[in-house]
């Protein structure tokens, strides 16, 4: 069972390595690899595709800066944020805008496992956590 899992992961990693064109994720290649997984590895298709998609998801998360705003954000500001984080992490980043009225105002930026919260909701949460900390001892 463990051996099969390892082999699936190996195949998924191979597909993942071959999914780039000029260091950019190529959607055509991804589709082609999924089809190949269906045709070649019939018995382990599901396992391979799951591992492959997990790798792609991880890659996208690490290379896409998600900007949450309460209101629409103009492209200039998006570019400023994108450039800042790309410069900071020394790699090319994609930007994705998510409109989220629950943050009230300001910005919340997510990149991979990291999050920077500059929203009004975030500030209120900080105040609440501070007060909880103060009154819990």
């Amino acid at each position: 069972m463990k051996k099969i899992k390892t082999e699936n992961q190996k195949a998924a990693k191979k597909f993942f390595r071959d999914s780039f064109t000029n260091n950019k994720l190529d959607v055509r290649k991804v589709r082609k690899h999924i089809q190949a997984a269906k045709n070649i590895y019939k018995s382990s298709t599901l396992g391979i595709i799951k591992s492959y998609l997990a790798l792609i998801k991880r890659h996208l998360q690490n290379n896409t800066v998600v900007i949450e705003t309460a209101e629409k954000l103009d492209q200039k500001k998006v570019a400023t944020i994108q450039t800042h984080f790309a410069k900071k992490l020394d790699k090319k980043l994609e930007a994705r805008i998510v409109q989220n009225p629950n943050i009230f105002a300001g910005l919340r930026i997510t990149l991979g496992d990291n999050q920077w919260d500059y929203s009004a909701k975030g500030k209120l949460n900080q105040i609440r956590e501070f007060l909880h900390g103060k009154y819990s001892s």
């Binding site: 309460a70 500001k77 800042h84 009230f104 105002a105 910005l107 500059y118 105040i127 909880h132």
Partner: protein
């Protein structure tokens, strides 16, 4: 001599009778008195021995009785001492048990008080947390309601400044 004859006493017969009496006396002494005296002497000795023995027994009995009395007295004294000791030990034990019980009760009361205090503190903290949650929830609603477009613009600008820093 004539007088003796006048009274009808024949000197020769008298002498013969005397001799006979002496012989009889010797014979009696030899064959009857001596054995009887010997037997009497033996019985006397036996009686004396018995008396001595009885005296000895009496003496021993008295000594034994005295020793028994002494032992009894000693045993009485010892038993009184043992009883007294046992009473003292029982008193000490009772005092100790009473003290232990009092300590245990105090400890239980103390622990219960501490437990109550901890529970009280927990409830106070929980109440404070709930108040904080209510206040922040209310603040969120107020903020959400009163934020103008200008405020939102200003907050985005401020966020961009913070990002650049």
């Amino acid at each position: 001599m004539d007088i003796l004859k006048d009274f009808g006493v024949e000197p020769i017969l008298l002498i013969a009778q005397v001799v006979n009496f002496v012989i009889l006396l010797i014979l009696l002494k030899r064959f009857l008195y001596k054995p009887i005296l010997k037997v009497l002497e033996e019985r006397k000795k036996k009686i004396e021995t018995s008396v001595k023995q009885s005296e000895e027994i009496q003496k021993r009995f008295e000594e034994t009785a005295q020793k028994q009395a002494e032992i009894l007295d000693k045993a009485k004294v010892e038993s009184e001492q043992i009883i007294e000791g046992a009473k003292n030990e029982a008193k000490i034990l009772a005092d100790q048990i009473q003290l232990d019980a009092a300590n245990a009760a105090n400890e239980t009361i103390k622990r219960t008080q501490q437990s109550f205090e901890i529970e009280k503190q927990k409830m106070i903290i929980e109440a404070k947390r709930e108040i904080v949650d209510i206040v922040t929830a209310a603040t969120e609603k107020v903020v959400q309601k009163n934020l103008t477009k200008q405020d939102k613009e200003r907050l985005i600008k401020q966020a961009l400044t913070e990002i650049k820093e």
